[in-house]
Structure formats: structure tokens, C-alpha cells
Symmetry: C2
Subunit: 275 residues, 2 copies
């Protein structure tokens, strides 16, 4: 692991690091925020998965999470959204290939060689973070925005022991029924839709696997409501009686101004469950 | 005035606007944040002047000021840092020309035609903001970062009636004695140094004109300490007995991670004095 930068932030340290990743077979960049409490001993850890076109950097600089993480004593991890590098397959579209890994393990060519963000986030980066930073191994929570909200919910629901707390900002909630999903799942996982259901929050919630609670914020003026399909997820949460809070926030759009506005509530949600 | 974008943010609105500016003889872009309290009536207003290479956008997205402004009921204004456009003189260096207006009225060719950021911020944009947004005309405060900290202090000290509260993050504190200053003041104001003294915070403080209090935060690990010269300003504040709080913050550098870490303190400083 190599340090790219470290900046003091709210009494803690916001760092950016690179490492040679096995799962994605390329060099990966990620960011970790350590709150001031981490200088005294290990702290709980909140993962933030970003959306389409993002890197580790967008939320690190624009989500305003550090202030609240420092207040509550949480570490933050900001992974990248896809494999990177000259040898990594890509597509001209913004929503496929680099910046659009969708947090799956691709099985189809040309993607299968590097696009294994599911394994990368769940296992490889988790092990690295636990080895290199003072975080409590059994106190991890996960959240994310848009494609990252999809990633957070699907990773948590498929691996109930891995994360103790879960939330999302405007997640891609029903990708098997959306143009933000069908195209990418076809490319990464193949045309057989039976392989897709493990990567759809609405379907996973419908299967009833999550009892840990879930906070979802969605802007009512989001410009991508037709692609996100929040109503599918909210209905599935209600039908399955999943413990959850789904907030439709009037006036808010899909931007980081929206994420920032509710970042404090999400950090509190996780901190309350990780202590 | 034209609306470029408006995003909901912490119950208020973060907007970006353009207008044809007379003082700089070009189209200018600026951002205004209105807190939720502004929907009930006019609110106090805090101006944030940005540093070298910045536009209106950097602090708007990275300083984390909106959360605190919403908490305290302050409007925020983020001006650009220079005139813009194809017909505006520029220089290849990052620290002269576009993005580097230094908040002066240039008198020298080729700069004098557009580089009038002093008048633009103090008078023209102030009048526009007061006409178009619900802000209290006699409750304005000013702050800024780096070159913008220089701008905030110099504008406030030269115009004691214009701003009721003043602070700065890592200001260029003594430009007449720094490579961040001598080059630009020569270009914009000419080689006669007697024209420079009105644009140097240390010299203005030394003249003893400011009684309103001043909060300065400076990172002790700032990579530009030699250019900022905080010791010149801190000595001048002490010698002149100017009411002030000068905080040398251990571990912090010159980045927006530093600004963000103390944004809440600065908003509180201004809100306490503008109510």
C-alpha cells in the first residue's frame, strides 16, 4: 500500500492510498478518513460506495461526511467505482466500463478479467483496511449514492454478517427493471436474467433477508427518478416488513448537495448501530 | 441576472448565477446560498472570497459552509476570483491573470480593462445581491481563503462600514513582501510600491483602522507558509492591539480539508456579530 496524500481534517486524517489489487488485477486507489478518536484505539468503520462516473475522490471532497464522522468517531472508506488502467476494458458510454463497475463480479468477456468490484469491496479492500488502519473488524457499516447505494444494499443483504448497519442515498433500486441496470447486467453477467437477481435491491429485499434496519433518503426532485425506481424498493420494504426508514425528501435532486444535506443523519444512523 | 442552476441544500437553495458586469466589463458567474430562514424574511450575508486558480465553484462544493449557514441562518455569496472570457487578458502563470485577480482595481495595461475585482466585489455584486436576494443590507460579513483571505481583510479594513464581521483562512498576509504579491501588484498597479500599501493586510492592520474583531485560522503544516507570511500579520495585530483571534492550527495544510475543518467556527464567528 502506498500513501498518495494525507491531509488533516477535523482533527483526524483524510488519506488517499493505492495498492496492487488481486481481485481486479490492477492498481486501485481508495481513500480512508480516520477520526481523531482513532489515535486512541480502533474505531467503527463506515464504507461509502460512489455512483456512476465517480472515483474515490467525489464523496471524499463533496459529501461533507468527515465532520460528522469526527463527531461520532467513525472511520470512513471511499473505494473507487471500477478497475482502472490502460489494460482494463472500457466503453464510450458513461454508464458502462470504467466508473461504472456496478459492484458485481463480471463473468462475461471482455469484462471478467478486471471487473470484480463485488469481491474487491467485500473481501480484498476490507482485509487491507483492517490490516492497515485502526478499525474494529466486527463493526463495519455501509452506505452509498446512486449506483453506490445499489452496491451498499446488495453487498449488505447478500452478506448479513459483513455489515452491521446499512443506508443509501438515492440508490439504483431495481436495476433488473431499469436502463440503469439491464444494459450493465447483460454486459457483465450475460443475457440470462437468472444471474441478475442477486444484484437487485428490490428483489433481495423481497426475499426478506435483512433484519438489521435500513435508512434510505431519496430526493423528490431527483432528475433520475425513472431510472432509480424508488417506488419498487419502498414497496418491497413494506411488503417484506423489513425494518426500515424510507424518506422522500421534497425539493432535493440527485447531486452532492442532496447527499451533503443528509450526511449527518446517515452517519448518526450508522454510529448508533456500530457502537 | 440568469439562473444557471439551483439545488436544494440543507433546507435552503444553493444557486449559481451569471450577469453582465459593468466593473469588469464581462460576464461574471457567482453563487449564492440561501438558508431555510430566508424563506421567511431577509437574513444576514457572509461573503467568501476564494484563492488562486479558483472560481465560484470550489468553496461552494468543498468548504462545507452550507450546513453551518443553514444552522445559523446566514446567506453565503461566492464570487469568482477574476474577470473571465476570451477578450480578457491572461498570463500563462497560475498566479497572474484569470483566477488570480487579487481583489484590486488594475491601473496598468493590459489588465486595467477588466481586472477590477475590488469594485466588483465591494460595490457591483453587492448591489446585485441586495437587489435580487433576501439579505439584510446592513448585515454583511466577509471571509476568504489564501488570496481570498487577503481580499477579505483588505476590503473590510479599507471600508469599515461595508462589513460588520471579518475572518480569514490562511490569508496571503503580507503581499508587498512576498512572491505572492510583488509580481501581481507590479503587474496590476505598477512598479511604484506606494500604490500597493492599500492592498496589504499587514500594512493596513498596522495602520490601526479595524476595531471590529478578526478571526484568522492558519495551518501550521501549510505548504505555503513562506508565501503567506502569517507571522507578519500576527505581529501587526498584536502591535496595533487590534481585537483579534489568530489560531495556528497544528497539522493542517492549505487544502479545503483545512477550510472545511474550521468552517463551522467561522460561520459562528460571523453569525454572532451579524445578528
Amino acid at each position: 500500500m502506498e500513501i498518495k496524500s494525507e491531509n488533516a481534517s477535523f482533527g483526524g486524517v483524510q488519506g488517499v492510498y493505492t495498492h496492487a489489487a488481486t481481485s481486479t488485477d490492477c492498481e486501485m486507489t481508495f481513500a480512508v478518513y480516520l477520526p481523531p478518536q482513532a489515535s486512541k484505539g480502533p474505531v467503527p468503520c463506515l464504507w461509502y460506495l460512489s455512483g456512476l462516473t465517480c472515483t474515490h475522490e467525489n464523496a471524499m471532497t463533496k459529501a461533507g461526511l468527515q465532520e460528522h464522522a469526527a463527531r461520532r468517531g467513525l472511520a470512513l472508506v471511499f473505494p473507487d467505482t471500477s478497475p482502472r488502467g490502460d489494460g482494463v476494458a472500457d466503453d464510450d458510454a458513461y454508464d458502462l466500463g470504467k466508473g461504472a463497475g456496478f459492484y458485481v463480479n463480471a463473468t462475461e468477456a471482455p469484462w471478467a478479467a478486471h471487473y470484480r468490484m463485488y469481491d474487491y469491496v467485500l473481501t480484498e479492500l476490507r482485509a487491507l483496511v483492517q490490516a492497515e488502519f485502526p478499525v474494529l473488524p466486527d463493526r463495519h457499516g455501509i452506505t452509498g449514492h446512486s449506483m453506490g447505494g445499489h452496491g451498499a444494499i446488495t453487498l449488505a443483504l447478500r452478506n448479513p454478517g459483513a455489515y452491521r448497519s446499512l443506508s443509501a442515498f438515492a440508490p439504483i433500486a431495481n436495476p433488473t427493471g431499469s436502463d440503469w441496470g439491464r444494459k450493465q447486467l447483460t454486459a457483465y453477467l450475460g443475457a440470462d436474467e437468472s444471474a441478475w437477481s442477486g444484484h437487485d435491491s428490490t428483489l433481495l429485499v423481497g426475499a426478506g433477508g435483512w433484519k438489521g434496519g435500513m435508512l434510505i433518503d431519496q430526493g423528490a426532485s431527483d432528475q433520475f427518478l425513472d431510472l432509480l425506481k424508488p417506488e419498487a424498493l419502498s414497496a418491497a420494504l413494506a411488503r417484506s416488513r423489513t425494518p426500515s426508514v424510507f424518506r422522500m425528501q421534497p425539493g432535493y435532486d440527485h447531486s452532492y448537495f442532496f447527499v451533503q444535506s443528509f450526511a449527518g443523519d446517515h452517519v448518526d444512523w450508522h454510529a448508533d448501530r456500530l457502537k
